[in-house]
């Protein structure tokens, strides 16, 4: 994943509250390999139409609520969306977004922007601002997620640096809490004891 700091692009309103992950991508498409692209599945079964070329979506509260399906983010990203602006987001969705280069920008008054959206908006990740509306709007974003988006960081690489600390923790944790290690099946057959299979 490559990082980014500013983006200028076409903005569109998605004037709905509670746009959940099942609306973002219906479950039946999720067995598709990612390499085939998920953009065509975005909001597939809904009446919502996002103009081609849109890169910034301005939506209502509780955007991306529901399931942990990262495919909801893939659908947005593959469609070309770089940022979603909304008053609030589902927690898991926001984490998934930041892991895929998609900005979940929290602006409490996002809904008031719907009738007055200009053709283009500019987002500055480092400054935490949205411009293009005549005024400068500030968005909030978890610091970790901001860093991840700016640097295009990959968590697995970051965590690899802590391998020694993790190994030490593991040993200590299992020593202190031996019950935390799964016991083997009681009868070793792979089946629960006493059950008639």
């Amino acid at each position: 994943m490559t990082g980014w700091t500013t983006h200028t692009g076409r903005a569109a309103a998605l004037p709905l509250a509670n746009v959940d992950t099942d609306q973002l991508i219906p479950a039946r498409f999720m067995s598709t390999p990612r390499s085939e692209g998920y953009g065509r599945f975005l909001l597939h079964d809904t009446d919502a139409r996002i103009p081609e070329g849109t890169t910034i979506l301005v939506a209502g509260p509780n955007f991306g609520s529901g399931s942990s399906r990262e495919a909801a983010v893939y659908a947005l990203v593959d469609f070309g969306i770089r940022a979603v602006i909304a008053p609030s987001f589902g927690d898991i969705f926001a984490a998934n977004a930041a892991n895929n280069g998609l900005l979940p920008a929290c602006i409490p008054e996002a809904e008031t922007l719907w009738p007055r959206l200009p053709a283009e908006l500019t987002i500055d990740l480092a400054a935490g601002t949205v411009t293009g509306l005549g005024e400068t709007l500030r968005f909030t974003l978890d610091e970790t997620r901001r860093d991840k988006l700016i640097h295009g960081w990959d968590d697995i690489d970051l965590t690899a640096r802590h391998a020694a600390a993790i190994a030490a923790f593991r040993g200590d944790h299992h020593n202190k809490h031996p019950w935390a290690v799964p016991a083997r099946d009681n009868n070793g057959s792979g089946h629960p004891t006493g059950e008639e299979i």
Binding site: S68, I92, H173, P182
Partner: protein, 456 residues
């Protein structure tokens, strides 16, 4: 001053970064067919699974409930899971395993879920496992790949919220009603950013099955975590499970400290009176669109509500108990455990359903137990289909779905548009309420049907 959340968090925190994100150790990682994206990410980097012994797989999201998969894409998903887990040396409860079932049912059932553990799964209802006093939360595919590769997860500590429920639940009212009641009050995003601890005499009085239903639905109120301090009910449930600790005495001695101090401070406190809670149904397309069955379809006060009523084909002022249904579904990780099936069967015994429906037990072992108790005959004699175990009509990935425009009374967790199939209209409610709706052919208050029968 310490909360249960604090205790669980610090017990798993490997380190905390300057920006406040914690690196948490993962005790149990559960994967399912949907984890294929994560395995692909791992393979793309040529990485092994760090802790195959702490990772368990199960086929559930795409599992067929009748015979073999009919659809090639569905069959491929299940085969991919089997291949990925086998290649990495991960135990998998696949389609040929008698322990197969829904991931959040079999984790506890097998004794993989225990108090004091940190449990992750690429599914938002992982909050279910918090019912044991575990730290448990759902994660996305990139995070699943991270856990596979490192057995750790980066997570910022959520705020602590406590929902205290005191008093006696009325007959026919249970954990599902309790959960929908708080979500209706606080909203579907009401607990976003929080870990919810459920407490109070009502919660203490709940069985493990009911506690799991309550914690399961935390995410529908926006909370990624739900939890309940373990007690004798918890230990009794865990004892004797296949993967339960050999030395239960030692484990229980440790687990007794897993609670919030009497003077613990929560960022948010909510109190509910159990006696005020009635059987609840949803009328809209978000779990927050919920009301007692004695009410009517509300006048819409927002664009969301107007759109929801339009999608659901409902008119304001219609009594909820007058809404006709086309089918019922009893299943899912929310309400397909043995107690749920017993509650539904108690209402259905000796009665006929006016509409068709599916009953899908949460696991094969639940199915087996239900059959030993004769519950399967009650369902089939009522005219409902008794099928295999899996996510089935909760998410409509395996081919079980509700047709467009059809209205389904369902024990599941999401009434989102299209969740049970394109154009499907879902009403969420408890298993006993679904059973009552099946008998009546419309949504209905189960209480007059109880008549001395025992259903909660």
């Amino acid at each position: 001053m310490t909360t249960l959340l604090d205790r669980l968090w610090s017990a798993h925190e490997v380190l905390r970064r300057e920006d406040g994100a914690s690196l948490l150790w993962v005790d149990r990682h559960l994967v399912h067919e949907g984890s294929h994206h994560a395995f692909a990410k791992l393979d793309a980097r040529g990485l092994p699974v760090a802790e195959p012994g702490l990772t368990f797989g199960v086929a559930d999201h795409y599992a067929p409930t009748r015979g073999a998969p009919k659809d090639a894409a569905v069959a491929r998903m299940i085969e991919t899971l089997a291949a990925n887990t086998a290649r990495h040396g991960i135990t998998c409860f696949g389609l040929d395993d008698p322990r197969q079932g829904i991931v959040h049912v079999i984790g506890p059932e097998q004794g993989l879920t225990l108090p004091g553990l940190q449990v992750n799964c690429g599914d938002s209802h992982t909050s279910t496992h918090g019912a044991f006093g575990a730290l448990a939360f759902g994660i996305g595919a990139t995070e699943v790949a991270h856990v596979l590769a490192t057995q750790t997860i980066w997570q910022r500590k959520p705020k602590a919220m406590r929902i205290t429920v005191e008093g006696q639940l009325a007959p026919g009212v249970g954990a599902k009603d309790l959960a929908l009641a708080w979500i209706a009050r606080l909203g579907a995003g009401g607990a976003t950013g929080h870990a919810v601890e459920y407490a109070g005499s009502t919660v203490r009085g709940l069985s493990m099955e009911a506690r799991m239903t309550l914690c399961n639905l935390s995410i529908e109120g926006g909370a990624r975590f739900g939890m309940i301090a373990p007690d004798e009910t918890t230990y009794a449930y865990v004892e004797g499970r296949p993967y339960a600790p050999a030395d239960m005495g030692r484990a229980v001695a440790d687990w007794r400290s897993l609670r919030s101090d009497a003077d613990a401070r929560f960022d948010r406190e909510v109190t509910l009176d159990a006696a005020e809670i009635a059987p609840i149904v949803t009328w809209g397309t978000s779990p927050e669109d919920a009301l007692p069955i004695t009410e009517s379809v509300p006048e819409p006060r927002s664009d969301h509500a107007r759109a929801a009523l339009d999608y659901m084909g409902l008119t304001p002022g219609t009594p909820l108990a007058a809404i006709p249904i086309d089918r019922v579904f009893i299943g899912s990780c929310t309400n397909a455990r043995i107690e749920d099936l017993r509650a539904a069967a108690a209402v259905l015994a000796g009665r006929r359903a006016k509409v068709p429906g599916l009953v899908s037990p949460g696991s094969r072992l639940v199915k087996q137990q239900a059959e030993q108790e004769g519950l399967d005959r009650i369902f089939t004699e009522a005219g409902l289909d008794w099928v295999g175990s899996g996510c089935s009509m909760c998410v409509a990935m395996n081919g079980d779905s509700v047709a467009a425009g059809e209205r389904c009374a369902s024990t599941t967790n999401r009434n989102f548009r299209g969740r049970q199939g394109k154009g499907a209209r879902t009403h969420l409610m408890s298993p006993a309420m679904v059973a009552a709706a099946a008998v009546a052919g419309h949504l209905t208050d189960l209480r007059p049907m109880l008549n001395g029968r025992d259903a909660a």
